[in-house]
Amino acid sequence: MRANCWIAPNNVAVKSVPDPQILNPRDAVVRITSTAICGSDLHLLQGYIPAMQKGDVLGHEFMGEVVELGPGVRDGLSIGDRVVVAFPIACGNCSSCERGLYSICENSNPNAGIAEKVMGHSPAGIFGYSHLLGGYAGGQAQYARVPYADVGTIKIDDDLADEQVLFLSDVLPTGYMAAEMCDIRRGDTIAIWGAGPVGQFAAASALLLGAERVIVIDRFPYRLRIARENTGAETINYEQTDVLDALREMTAGRGPDACIDAVGMEGHHASAALHAYDKAKQATKAETDRPHALREAVLSCRNGGTISVIGAYGGFIDKFPMGSFMNRSLNMRSGQAHVQRYMRPLLERIRKGEIDPSFIITHTMGLEDAPHGFDIFKNKQDECLKVVLKP
């Protein structure tokens, strides 16, 4: 089959690789009909997440048709079913899965030993997301093996288009969980750093969950425009406006009730000097992640408010405003999305027309064009917000 493989930092290529096969009783093999490029794929692309190896198949947002099933798959999954696959691989049996914390499944990372050395304890395995998180072949391919298929998939009826349900695999639940972690109450103002797909869905979800006002912060006018037009959010372009001042002004000095960091490790800053400082530290490995958005989120949040960290971080950050965080009684919540927990309720919301996730798609192309898709997505060319690949 053909698959999009990581070759070296900033180099991906579509290659012929062997077809996946059933390795375990609870596996399924899925023929992929739609797959997407995620913002976190860019962290992998640029080599900011360690433990990538030449030839690794990328991709963790995919859906398709079940073509092969292991003998141990329960819950009535059958050959021919149309399914969306959750990006965290989760067994459904460990204590974490039983509590609905699927992205910290205790069993799905065979390389947990390496992850423990870096992170203390290991999170779940993730498709196409480095050897630290399992070394699973990803879904930017014609086929993929899905372990614990009875837990990691949701069946989709035929009347919904791929474009409407594909993002149940990652970015929709991820944005939704970011908003849910804010514990939104009536009248709340939520500020969101990053108007990428996750930030867009976080904005839409915050309003769905009862926020009064949502403010999205980015530097690309087209992304801010999409947020205004599709989610009902207000926007701040941080290259034109000082974010802390603007947020203080918009909330009459209180600060937003909750702040969502939907940027993560590769943040930018309007001040060239500050950006250069973190860029240099990252280049010399003095820190792995550039936490511009997180610092601003902490400083601007109201006293006693919540910081919801959904943007991906890989390792260590520097100059975290701990004094502000501690003295002002802030809370922080975080995690890779526990996708399996949100797929069914969010599918219901899509079906009822409460949200149509397809608004983020700006480009659709064949699998063979994946390297081009990575390029325009990374460089924000051609107003790119989300690339869907059709294998």
Partner: protein
């Protein structure tokens, strides 16, 4: 104290589990010698004149230089004995230093007479005494270390199953090869007896018979190889309910006499056969099997969690074995 399993010193704890005896005495002695070294180093450098007079070598500038060098060296011994978490090998650096000092004293004896010769003689006797203490400490410390590290390994894991389920699964020894990667098979041969076959390095196989020594349902199983095994070994597994319904804490201890002794164990470690890491990986797979029914496999680690897999990863792309081209 003093019961021996597979030739190891051991103590029995309150739960009836044999543990390798820790030799705390030698640790304390080694630390003490570290402080002595520090004191000697400071004295030799700060009171150079007095020390050289006392040891009877105040007549030669060379001897005084040797003395100063020995003082500096003492700081090295102090560091080796005081900084590491376990003093084990540090005492040997003192033994090596003693040899140098004795050689220097022997040299100083030549050509000295009267009072000075008498002082050098006293110094030599004092050095010999210190050497004896150092050798004793070093031998005891390294012996204690070997007993602990090379021959006995521990591991623990929490599983989301009741103590009874975990006990039952483990008690059927034929299940063990499903998660212990070095075991090929275990066959029950009698009421408390079983025959174990393990993979050994270089594609060889080792077979032995084992018997259950203690068996408390839902609580504990201990077993040991019966006489004549090539690799005498013993093991115990304890099942303790985790607090607040968090499943079962499974704690394993394995003891064995490594083939080829300490040397063999070290060579094996070089090839990634680290018994401590192996028991951790085995427990990780035990958790996977008892909770999910299968060993977790990815494209990069198709054999599941093993040290070797983690060191030598395949790329994360499908395996090419049956190659049924679609």
């Amino acid at each position: 104290m003093g019961r021996t399993t597979a030739g190891m010193r051991s103590v029995t704890d309150s739960l009836g589990i044999e543990r390798a005896g820790e030799d705390r005495g030698s640790e304390g002695l080694a630390r003490f010698l570290g402080w002595v070294s520090l004191g000697l180093g400071v004295t030799a450098l700060a009171r150079r004149e007095q020390v050289s007079r006392l040891s009877g070598v105040d007549d030669s500038p060379t001897a005084r230089r040797v003395l100063a060098a020995a003082g500096v060296r003492e700081f090295g011994h102090a560091a080796a004995l005081l900084i590491p978490r376990r003093a084990g090998w540090g005492a040997w650096t003192r033994v090596a230093g003693d040899m140098l000092d004795l050689a220097a004293a022997g040299q100083a004896m030549k050509g000295r007479h009267g009072e000075r010769r008498r002082r050098v003689t006293y110094t030599t006797w004092a050095l010999a005494g210190i050497t004896a203490v150092d050798v004793y400490t070093a031998v005891r410390a390294t012996r204690g270390r070997r007993g602990r590290d090379a021959n006995r390994v521990y591991g623990s894991v929490t599983v989301n199953r009741s103590t009874t389920e975990a006990y039952r699964f483990w008690h059927d020894f034929e299940n063990l090869p499903r998660f212990m990667s070095h075991l090929q098979s275990v066959q029950t041969t009698g009421d408390r007896r079983s025959r174990w076959t393990a993979k050994a390095p270089a594609g060889r196989k080792v077979t032995w018979d084992a018997e259950i020594v203690d068996d408390r349902p839902g609580e504990l199983i201990t077993w040991r190889s019966i006489d004549g095994a090539q690799v005498p070994n013993s093991g115990s597994v304890r099942f303790v309910p985790a607090t607040g319904g968090r499943g079962t804490e499974v704690r394993v201890e394995l003891g064995f006499r490594a083939p080829g002794g300490i040397f063999g164990a070290r060579v094996a470690k070089l090839f990634g056969e680290d018994p401590q890491q192996q028991v951790c990986d085995d427990l990780r797979r035990f958790k996977q099997v008892i909770e999910t029914g299968e060993v977790t496999r990815s494209d990069a680690s198709p054999d599941g969690s093993t040290v070797q897999q983690q060191m030598k990863q395949r790329p994360a792309q499908p395996l090419a074995t049956h190659g049924s081209g679609r």
